[in-house]
Symmetry: C2
Subunit: 385 residues, 2 copies
């Protein structure tokens, strides 16, 4: 790809970063001809991305007009679809939340029902924020299953019946829609909000299943087919008897996921069905549950120890339902990682519970939409000079 320095997208980036607040700044920073600057800025204003205001304080002579992102004119949405909930955040161009809501919703009801619900909530939130539907420029969405990112189609998602290959973006005509795996948008939301200075971060979600979002050099790493981070089916040692829904045995998820821990508790005489039941038991002081959560942490730690050697992250964030009892889970994880990983890779490594919590996925999905919309390539497509 040939770089096109000085494109409208570059100009917008300089304005958005606060590096340039006047046309003179832009001329100085880019070396672009004055006439080219005028052309680019006018096109950005016309497209509604930038606004130019008179500087109120006159200090003798005509004060230069100020350029800034036109945050009021647009809205973006972050949608977090879980197995049993739907969370929507309406955001402005700078990532600020304008309005948000959460409802119980079964993703298994299928795309028509679920996306109609999302549509309804978008309308309500836009009304609440006083913006017309036409202001909505892009939607980011995290779903609980694998997605072909380029097309926004779920790819054989095990807990999303009816969604396989469904073209989600086509449901929202006239609006850019980016669909990604839930744990990817959680990783993005956590990194951008809680660890903006961290370049290499893993977000590990431990719920019914186990998945991982990867931030490398500050960007989401999706891999060749978009399936990167699928760590729930990595083999752990000494559990050959644990069969997994994928057909293999000894998968991490089959021994350390919320459903697996609940099943083991039931076998030991304490009935439990879900990760939430396990969390409730731990919070009630059940020592068996506590022991099993810590052991699940050790198994997750065994897999993470290998990934720490391979990827050398700065921060590992633990999220998902089971992380609500994170002190026990993290104790098991840290114990194994610090014993099994190389000292050089663990010396400055932090393993921490999620700070963004239940908002990570919706915020991350919204950030995905905003960053895509403001990317130089997209701006250059939007703006014709």
């Amino acid at each position: 790809m040939t770089p096109t320095p000085g494109s409208p997208g570059d100009v917008l980036t300089l304005i958005g970063a606060g590096s340039a607040t006047t046309r003179s700044d832009l001329a100085r920073l880019t070396g672009l001809a004055r006439s080219t600057i005028s052309q680019r800025v006018d096109a950005l204003i016309e497209s509604g991305l930038v606004e130019e205001t008179e500087n109120g304080e006159s200090t003798g002579g005509r004060p230069p007009r100020q350029l800034r992102l036109h945050t009021d004119g647009h809205a973006f949405a972050g949608v977090d679809l879980g197995a049993t909930h739907c969370r929507v955040a309406l955001m402005d161009m700078s990532g600020g939340v304008l309005a948000e809501c959460e409802d119980p919703l079964l993703v298994a009801e299928g795309p028509e029902v679920v996306l109609a619900h999302v549509d309804d909530r978008l309308d309500r939130l836009l009304a609440e924020a006083g913006r017309p539907r036409t202001a909505l420029r892009a939607i980011g969405m995290g779903v609980p299953g694998p997605v072909e990112f380029a097309t926004g189609r779920p790819n054989n998602p095990p807990i999303m019946p009816g969604w396989n290959d469904y073209p989600i973006p086509e449901h929202f005509a006239g609006c850019t829609v980016l669909v990604d795996n839930d744990v990817n948008v959680m990783a993005l939301g956590e990194q951008r909000n809680a660890f903006p200075g961290t370049r290499h971060l893993l977000f590990v979600k431990i719920g019914t299943g186990i998945g991982c979002g990867i931030v490398a050099e500050g960007r989401l790493h999706r891999g060749a087919q978009g399936s990167a981070g699928d760590i729930g089916h990595i083999r752990v040692s000494g559990h050959e008897d644990a069969g997994c829904r994928c057909g293999n045995s000894a998968c991490l998820e089959a021994v350390a996921g919320g459903a697996a821990v609940a099943r083991r508790l039931t076998e030991l005489g304490t009935p439990a069905e879900t990760g939430a039941d396990v969390v409730a038991l731990v919070q009630a002081g059940d020592t068996q549950a506590l022991r099993l959560v810590r052991e699940a942490g050790r198994l997750v730690g065994e897999v993470l120890a290998g990934l720490v050697n391979f990827f050398n992250p700065e921060v590992i964030v633990i999220g998902g339902a089971l992380s609500r009892v994170h002190e026990h889970l993290l104790a098991g994880i840290k114990e194994t990682v610090y014993r099994r990983s190389l000292p050089l890779a663990t010396h400055h490594l932090s393993i921490v519970p999620s700070r963004t919590g239940i908002n990570a996925a919706a915020l991350g999905a919204g950030i995905l939409a905003i960053e895509h919309y403001l990317s130089p390539d997209n701006v250059n497509r939007l703006v014709t000079t």
Copy 2:
């Protein structure tokens, strides 16, 4: 970091990519003012990075002068230091090899002896290519151990006695020196030469030890402390009795590295000391050696299966001494990866022997040096406009 569109580095990139061959092209592509273009091009010519020639074919009117990289005026070196060899390639700015040599050399002789040898070979190769020492702009070097990339100092390298924390770049005063782990430069050399269209690639070196170089989005992924890819100490299942030099047990390297396979062969009555001995036995048709190499492949495959789920590469390249009997090694690796990894991640995955072979490290080190030297940031430092 604020982008600086239209910088001298950007202008050089356009010339280097062949996108701009005249000053008019540059004006059109960048939107820069004519006077700015002149200033940037003159500075690049003065610094020796670009040359401008008269177009010989006159078609009526004065033909425009052509701009191109000044490849003749510079030289770059790629140095591959192994445990027992030193390979040096002298390259021009476009990555073409001008001259090369290889000699047996023990890295354990320490930095003074080894770097004096490198110096001597650089002088010989420059003389052979007819370029003065002052033409040498940057040296890339791969060494058989962990390195702090930012400073070029080896970090507790197990098989490089005397090198710990040694400031390698300081030995080559007046020249930019980039030092990296050998398997990182191999990954770069292989990707740039044999798989230029592949964005996500793993290069796995199976020699005495086992390591991995990671190319993500077309760039080397070194991780937070530069230790990424150290997969030799990832745990494999069912080998708790195999102690490793790192202090842990069941490390991949302790059961599947060349030294481990040789030791096992010796225990079984066929004396062998090194990976090279193992290779010789396989090539001589020793069925025991063949069986053990295939089993080593299965163990490497067990670790790679997890990394395929996590990283989702397009290509895995197998290199290093044991890969000289790659048909047996790859059979074991593929068997396990295709059984244990997720279908989505293996569907388009290629697992192949190294195509660049013994040249991968020296070429990759040279490419590291050239890409650094021509990077916009470095060019902007070199050129004062």
